[in-house]
Each structure stands twice: as structure tokens, then as C-alpha cells.
């Protein structure tokens, strides 16, 4: 049993406000066959995860964090004191932070099909001793959630206080509420959708084509440190644009030129800072992400359509028992506010408890990662409020 309720962190020990400090990932090995929604199966799988904070004696104070397409399980703290950056949601998670690790045990897992420690297309197929490549089973959001449930069962979690996620993480949040209604009490989905729309599928397809048209992709068979690096970098460059906004890019880069551009406009070498930034995004991505995983996970996003999967959005949400908070962001043009509103409205039509809040930002889709006191306040309010209603007359 993992040390989620380690004696060294006895109840009553409250960490000072701040980050979660040094953390280490762990691996959960599920050694039994797992059948995917597609009908394909694996003899077993591994899920990499991190935890911050301790489980209470009832083992029901856990909060699951679901990551987005290019994210991973490392959402808070640092792996070593020399790490340049903490986990991707470090601003939100920690002692005294909006997701308070003094109160909650935060669990963050790398999704099935990923490439940062969980079983995915770059894992070795025990049958052949070679990477699965595109013989890996097709993955859906529901498969990711079912694998996470096995992880939580293994950790002895009796109920989830909340599931939180943005973008693809938000899709998992919704799927959690549908798939395991009695297990989760609060759903917090941000910058997400109940149905991947044509524009989002279109962007995914451009990314996939960039990868698959790179000769080094080779039908998904490539060495571990090789493969379609150019294609994957271009996919990432394009996708990155969809995560930000016109206003935020212009504020960050404007038309500023690189010093080495020498004022020569008549060249295709890098001239503008935004070009250099995107190339850097592409280059750093290929060092941490697997091209086949990118294909699989974007396909999982494309397949996500709750209304189609269950007949209607209302039918999909019929089993939900949790209280839901959906947060949309005005400048998000990948999963615009309208698509977030749709989720809350359908839940309300089903008679469920659901709230929709919309933050005005100009940072685009990635706004859910925003350092915003307003966002922290609503997240904290949603997670920490007692189940009973408080009455005061402060209008």
C-alpha cells in the first residue's frame, strides 16, 4: 500500500502555506487484462501518478486532478531542488492554496495512452519486445477514466471529494461523474466541452497530418529517440496557437524582432520573436512527448461526444450525483464559453446541481492555468464549502 497515510505525516501536521515541496512520481502496475472501449485489450498497464497531502481515516478526502492533452501527472511541486519550473498547476495546489493539500489528498495520474510513464504506444509490447506503435489499442476518455478508477481502488480511496480538470482534463471530469456517480461528490471542469467540435477536430487533424506526413513517422515504427521530430514539433507549434489568443500573443511578442534578424526582412530565417517562441515550444515538446501518443490522445479527444455516446446530453448526465462547477473563459476559442455553458445547462435540465461561472480573460484556452485570485476563490469556495447551506443576509 502506498504511503498516502504515512505515519511521518500524522494527522494534525499542517504544512506552511506554499508549494508542496519536493515530490516523486510513483507507478501503479495493474497486472490484469484491461479491455478498451474499442474491444481491444492489453494484458495489463502501468499508470504513473503523484500524490500531495494525506488521506484521512475515512479515505474520502481525495481530489483527483486530470491533465490536458500535453500535460502529465506532475502538477505540483518539484522533482529536484534544481527544477527550473514546478508542476503545471502548482499555483493552484499546495498547503493553503485553492486546492489545499492540508485538507485534501491530491492525486494526479498520467493518462493511459500517454508517454510520461503510463502505458502507451511507446511502451514495449511484451508479445514482441518492441514498442506497440500503432498496434496499441485505441484509447478513449472513458478508458482513461476507468484506468484512473483502478488506480484509486489500488490506493484504497473510498470516495473522491472532487475531480478537477481543464480541457481534456475537463472531459475526464464529466466522464467521471457519469461513470462512477456514487464515487465522486464534486466535479470541477474548466475550459472544456461535452463534444469535440469540428474546429477542434480540424486542428487535431492538422497536427496528426504533420506527424504522419513526416517520413520518419514510418507507420508509427521509429526508435525511441528518433521518429517524426519535425512533424511533432510542427503539430505542437500549431496547437500552441490554439491555446492562447490574438491579444495575449500580441501583448507578449507584438512585432518585436529577434536581435540576430539584422533588420533584413528579405529572408525566411527567424525574424520575429513569436516565430522563435513557437519553434522553441516545438523543440522542447519533442524532447518530452511521443508522436504516436499525440496521435492517440488527439483521437481520443475527437471521439469525445457525450450526446452521441449516450443518445443525448441529458441521458449522459442522468446518472450524475455530484455537484458540478463549470468554469468557462471569455477568450477561449478552442472550447469557447458556449460549449462550457452547454454542460451546465444540460445538468440543470436533468435536475442536477450545477453552476456555470465565466471569467473574463484575454489569455485564450490556457486561461484555466491563470494566476487569478478570482479563479482561486471560486475553486476554494466550491471545494471547501460544507454540504449544508449557510445563511447570511450579506447581499
Amino acid at each position: 500500500m502506498p504511503d498516502l497515510d504515512d505515519a511521518s505525516a500524522a494527522a494534525g501536521t499542517v504544512a506552511a502555506p506554499g508549494g508542496v515541496g519536493l515530490v516523486a512520481p510513483r507507478d501503479f502496475v495493474h497486472a490484469r487484462p484491461f479491455t478498451f472501449q474499442s474491444g481491444q485489450s492489453l494484458p495489463g498497464f502501468t499508470i504513473r501518478y503523484e500524490t500531495y497531502g494525506q488521506l484521512n481515516p475515512a479515505r474520502d478526502n481525495a481530489i483527483l486532478i486530470c491533465h490536458a492533452l500535453s500535460g502529465d501527472h506532475h502538477c505540483a511541486g518539484r522533482h529536484s531542488p534544481d527544477d527550473r519550473k514546478p508542476g503545471w498547476w502548482d499555483n493552484l495546489i499546495g498547503p493553503g492554496r485553492a486546492v489545499d493539500t492540508n485538507r485534501f489528498c491530491v492525486i494526479s495520474s498520467n493518462c493511459l495512452g500517454g508517454c510520461v510513464g503510463s502505458t502507451g504506444p511507446s511502451s514495449l509490447d511484451p508479445a514482441t519486445g518492441r514498442p506497440y506503435g500503432i498496434s496499441f489499442p485505441f484509447v478513449t476518455i472513458r478508458d482513461m477514466v476507468r484506468a484512473q478508477k483502478l488506480l484509486l481502488d489500488h490506493l484504497g480511496v473510498s470516495a473522491l471529494h472532487a475531480v478537477i480538470g481543464g480541457s481534456m482534463g475537463g472531459m475526464q471530469v464529466l466522464q467521471w461523474g457519469i461513470e462512477y456517480p456514487g464515487f465522486v461528490r464534486r466535479l470541477l471542469a474548466m475550459a472544456t466541452t461535452s463534444r469535440e467540435g469540428a474546429q477542434a477536430i480540424a486542428f487535431n487533424e492538422v497536427g496528426r497530418q504533420a506527424i504522419m506526413q513526416d517520413p520518419a513517422w514510418n507507420q508509427g515504427e521509429y526508435p525511441k529517440d528518433g521518429g517524426p521530430r519535425t512533424g511533432l514539433a510542427i503539430a505542437r507549434m500549431m496547437a500552441h496557437i490554439t491555446y492562447v489568443s490574438d491579444a495575449s500573443m500580441d501583448r507578449k511578442f507584438g512585432r518585436r524582432k529577434k536581435a540576430e534578424a539584422n533588420g533584413d526582412a528579405y529572408t525566411f530565417d527567424i525574424q520575429f520573436e513569436v516565430e522563435s517562441y513557437l519553434r522553441h515550444q516545438g523543440q522542447s515538446f519533442i524532447n518530452r512527448f511521443d508522436a504516436n501518443s499525440y496521435l492517440y490522445i488527439t483521437r481520443a479527444l475527437d471521439q469525445f461526444d457525450l450526446a452521441q455516446a449516450y443518445g443525448s446530453l441529458e441521458a449522459a448526465f442522468a446518472p450524475v450525483q455530484a455537484e458540478t462547477l463549470v468554469v468557462g473563459f471569455t477568450s477561449d476559442w478552442l472550447f469557447p464559453p458556449e460549449q462550457n455553458r452547454t454542460i451546465a445547462l444540460a445538468l440543470l435540465r436533468c435536475g442536477k446541481r450545477a453552476t456555470y461561472a465565466e471569467l473574463e480573460t484575454d489569455l485564450g484556452h490556457d486561461s484555466f492555468l491563470l494566476e487569478s485570485e478570482d479563479l482561486y476563490a471560486i475553486v476554494r469556495g466550491f471545494l471547501e464549502r460544507e454540504a449544508t447551506v449557510e445563511v447570511d443576509f450579506n447581499i
Partner: protein
Amino acid sequence: MTRLVEKRTVDMQIIGDWVEPHTRVLDLGCGRGALLGYLMQSKQVTAVGVDLDFHRISACVQRGVTAYQGDMLSFMHEFPDRFFDRVICSRTVQELDRPTDVILEALRVGRTVTVGFVNHGYWKNRVDALVRGRKVRNEVYTTEWFESRPANPLTIADFEHFCVTKRIRIARRAHLAGNWRSPRHILPNLLAGYALYDLTR
């Protein structure tokens, strides 16, 4: 409690008396969720509020009141006929862009619509306008015109005329004196400071 808070709670208590227990209630312009929080506790209603402001929605979340940030008309368009047992439009009606559309749509999605408003026909408001020649300012309307949202002040006579014109049935009315406490049945348009109505189709 200040007098203002007292007035607000009186208003809540009357609406609370009218609301049936365990019903589904929508509050248009729910603010920070005070009324719905009160109804959830006193009448165990299933509540949802609508408001335009993020911070008010955030306050609702903190209070345990479910709420929707957005336009109230677009919100109601998303619901089938008679989905709510009661739609409340308390101290919002004078700030609506399209009051007729909102009230008629509320009558479609709700079995009963409760409207509460400050009566601008109340004699003190009349005297105020006549003597001071300025926008009404009092403990309810505290701001100068240039710090206020566009308002569409109405009187009890205006509202009753509206109901006749639109063939809306008034199931119940409460006219309160200037202290918003004692009932005022005689010459309400002149003598009542606050009015509450239950409307049905």
C-alpha cells in the same frame, strides 16, 4: 442589523412565506445568493440563480447556491415549459432591458412568477422628485445617477396596468408601507413603499 438589511430580510420572509417547500425555484438576478440560500434552508427548495457578475456567482458557490452566469433570457430559453415551480424576479425588474420578454418567458418556464419592486409612486418618492427635483436617492437607491445602472423605475399602478395589458393573472399581491413591514391596503400606489406579486398565466 442596519435598517437596510432589515428591509432586505423582510422582503425575503414574505417570499419565503409564498414559496412551497421542496419546490424548484429560479431566481433571476440572484446576486450573491442570499434569498436562495434562505429558501434552501427554510423551504428545502431546489434552487438555481442567474446573474451576470462573476463575483456574485462565486459568492453563490461559497454559499452552496447553484448559479448560472449569463443572460437570464437566454438561460430561460434553454428550459422546457413549467420546468420551475417558481421564478423570482425580486428588485430586478426595474433594471431589465426587455421586461415584457423576461416576465412572459418566466411565465412559460415557471408555474408562478414572483415579482418584487420598490414602488416609485410612493408619496415620499413623489415629494422627493417634486421638492428636490433630483433623481430619487434613499437607503435603497443610494447612488447618484452617474454611478447607477440605467433604471426603469415603475410604480404599482404601472405594474398592474402591465398585467392587464398582457393578460397576466395576479394570484397574490402584497403591498407594504414605507417601512416595508406593515401591510398597506389603501391607496397602495401612493402609500406603499414596496410591492410583491405572484403572477400566473
